[in-house]
């Protein structure tokens, strides 16, 4: 379909426009939506980093939890308790604190799995693009097959296999590793494809050829010359993948193959609360759900903005 498209070259008016659009910071300050998303993301990062100090209660401190406080609605409703702004769950845990701790877990797993996919994808992409030949064909075929399946299905499969191999049922602390591995391994393809594409373009440029001729090792060429050129797109993908990874984690936890209720992420909280939706305790589900949606939305907005700012043509 590439050949149907008009060739660029609308003359200088277009290039002038593109130049102005390429101004990343300018576009950030110009879009209130993006700035709000940045602020929200920052707030979540802050809460994640300082959760235990900021949260009004410790949801894991069994001593401070009493069943007397169980199933209290949000503070502004009838029977609400000012101590528990967003109400409590059926065990009497403060929802706000649970959400802060949950976001911390969600972000942690999100970041870890994106880093895993990034390292794996960028590495394989570089190798694939730089080495070419059979290696490239093999990696790209695997990528293609994997891409045919939704990443959540791949994550579920990896999850199932890992649990089969590792016997997770008995080792709760492995849940983190299993989650990070299954999400990380299911999302490397985007990185690899993008990096491979740019690498193949860069590989044939004169400066890389020249570096090759004067005997600089391929690894160094890739590290020093090719990698910097693919950082922009990689950053965009990483941001969008962070949102995806957070959704994946929440989904896996919601489906019951993620984190156990003893160490709840936002997804686990929603799963647990879902059972009480019909009995009227909607806040146990809806608040963690809203917190999750807000976080993902903010990250997505940042990703969208970043993509537009780095590549105005895509808008």
């Amino acid at each position: 379909m590439a050949e149907i498209r008009a060739t660029p070259g609308r003359g200088w008016v277009e290039s002038v426009r593109r130049f102005f659009d390429g101004d990343i910071w300018y576009s950030f300050t110009r879009s209130p939506m993006t700035m709000a998303a940045g602020a929200v993301t920052f707030l979540y990062f802050f809460l994640a980093a300082f959760g235990p100090w900021v949260a009004p209660h410790d949801p894991f401190d069994l001593a401070s939890i009493t069943l007397l406080d169980a199933s209290l609605p949000p503070a502004w409703l009838e029977y609400g308790d000012p101590r528990f702004l967003l109400g409590t769950d059926i065990q009497g845990r403060d929802m706000l604190s649970a959400i802060i701790y949950g976001s911390r877990v969600s972000l942690l797993i999100g970041f870890a799995s994106v880093i895993l996919s990034l390292v794996l994808g960028v590495g394989l992409g570089l190798i694939s693009g730089f080495v070419g030949g059979a290696v490239d064909a093999f990696i790209m075929r695997v990528a293609e097959v994997q891409l045919s399946f939704p990443s959540i299905l791949v994550a579920l499969l990896i999850n199932g296999v890992l649990r089969g191999v590792l016997d997770v049922q008995n080792q709760a602390d492995l849940a983190y590793a299993v989650l990070i591995l299954s999400i990380g391994l299911s999302n490397w393809v985007q990185f690899a494809r993008t990096v491979r594409g740019s690498t193949m373009v860069e590989r044939n440029k004169e400066y890389v050829q020249a570096a090759h001729v004067i005997g600089i090792s391929p690894a160094l060429i890739m590290w020093r010359h090719i990698l910097p050129n693919v950082l922009g797109p990689v950053l965009v993908i990483a941001t969008i993948q962070l949102a995806l990874a957070i959704i994946s984690e929440a989904t896996l936890s919601f489906l019951g193959v993620g984190l156990p209720p003893t160490e709840p992420s936002l997804g686990t909280l929603i799963r647990v609360g879902n059972d009480y939706l019909f009995s009227g305790e909607w806040w146990i589900t809806i608040f963690p759900g809203a917190a999750l949606a807000l976080l993902v939305l903010a990250v997505n907005l940042l990703g969208d903005w970043l993509r537009d700012a780095l590549n105005p043509k895509l808008r």
Binding site: G11, W12, V16
Partner: protein, 346 residues
């Protein structure tokens, strides 16, 4: 009454950092059946002028002031729907790249029939017959077979013939041809120009021929307008402008054309580059590159002045300064011009 009149046309592009003026106060006219060449470097505003006339400036570009009249009727303030009925019917257009001007998913016949039926009451059968007739007229062999083929089955030159057929299919009075040969092989360029010239003469269609190629202009045009940085530098009969160029910029353009029979000649280039629209110099826009510029050129913008048989926007012809362009240079240009003009009206 001229067929087309453009009066004090200004085309602006509002951007985040101020408004760019792509076409700055130009006036010109085209008579019935006349070929007006518009020449200049890319970005001189020549394509913008064409786009403004057919009402297809790409947003955010807009006609900021001035008037465009076709047979006395104002076009520049027509609503979209009224202007649409004029496009294709009374003003045709030909664009630069024949490879991308045709929709790849529809047969050539479909696109012709569609255009004919948009502007006339013909039945599908009549329209198809007309389409085949048009393809014959633009010199496409076996039109009965070719009419059902898709653009990718035609070569570049053949596609531009189809584009010409599309532009001419309901006999418009005026055709805006924007660089119609630039994207083609040199060997095919001449054929296409000859075809365009012949068809327009046969149908009495006027042409505004936008190009950066002085050779094409010399060969085809009756009159020529030389544009520089959004303004007309010189306008007049093609022989006058080419053989007896007034504006130093036109001289420069002539000097940069290669010619046969002047083996030892060094092609001259105009020093510097055309200014960007963001920083057009005060005074005459050409002054930083002009070998003859003096104080007034750097402060006051010249308007078109009648000089002999053409009009030029240059202070050299203001009377006080007198003519200072060396005769030798004019002579070189003149011999070259003869060679160029040889084929005009031939």
């Amino acid at each position: 009454m001229p067929l087309l009149e453009v009066e004090n046309l200004v085309v602006e592009f509002p951007t985040r950092r101020g408004t760019l003026t792509a076409v700055n106060d130009i006036s010109l006219h085209i008579d019935e059946g006349e070929v007006l060449g518009v020449v200049g470097e890319s970005g001189a505003g020549k394509s913008m002028t064409g786009a403004a006339i057919i009402g297809l400036l790409e947003p955010p570009g807009r006609v900021a002031s001035g008037r465009i009249l076709l047979e006395g009727e104002r076009l520049d303030n027509l609503p979209y729907e009224k202007m649409r009925r004029i496009r294709g019917k009374r003003i045709g257009a030909i664009f630069q790249d024949p490879l991308t001007s045709l929709n790849p998913l529809y047969s050539v016949g479909y696109q012709l029939v569609e255009t004919i039926q948009t502007h006339t009451d013909m039945t599908p059968t009549q329209a198809r017959a007309r389409a085949i007739e048009l393809l014959t007229e633009v010199g496409i062999p076996a039109p009965e077979r070719r009419v059902d083929q898709y653009p990718h089955q035609f070569s570049g030159g053949m596609r531009q013939r189809v584009v010409i057929a599309l532009a001419l299919c309901v006999n418009p009075r005026l055709i805006i041809a924007d660089e119609p040969t630039t994207a083609l092989d040199v060997s095919i360029q001449a054929q296409i120009i000859a075809l365009l010239k012949r068809l327009c003469r046969d149908h009495g269609t006027a042409v505004m021929l936008v190009t950066h190629d002085m050779g094409v202009i010399a060969e085809t045009a009756d009159r020529v307008a030389v544009m520089y940085a959004g303004r007309i530098a010189e306008i007049g009969p093609v022989r006058e402008v080419i053989k007896n160029a007034k504006h130093p910029y036109t001289h420069g353009l002539m000097g940069s054309i290669p010619s046969i029979g002047h083996d030892n000649e060094r092609l001259e280039q105009i020093p510097g580059a055309m200014p960007r629209l963001t920083d057009i110099p005060v005074g005459c826009a050409f002054n930083p590159r002009c070998p003859h510029a003096f104080d007034k050129c750097r402060t006051v913008r010249p308007d078109l002045l009648p000089v002999e048989d053409s009009w030029t926007a240059c202070w050299l012809y203001d009377g006080e300064a007198g003519r200072t362009i060396e005769a030798s240079k004019t002579l070189v240009a003149a011999t070259k011009a003869d060679a160029l003009l040889e084929r005009n009206h031939g």
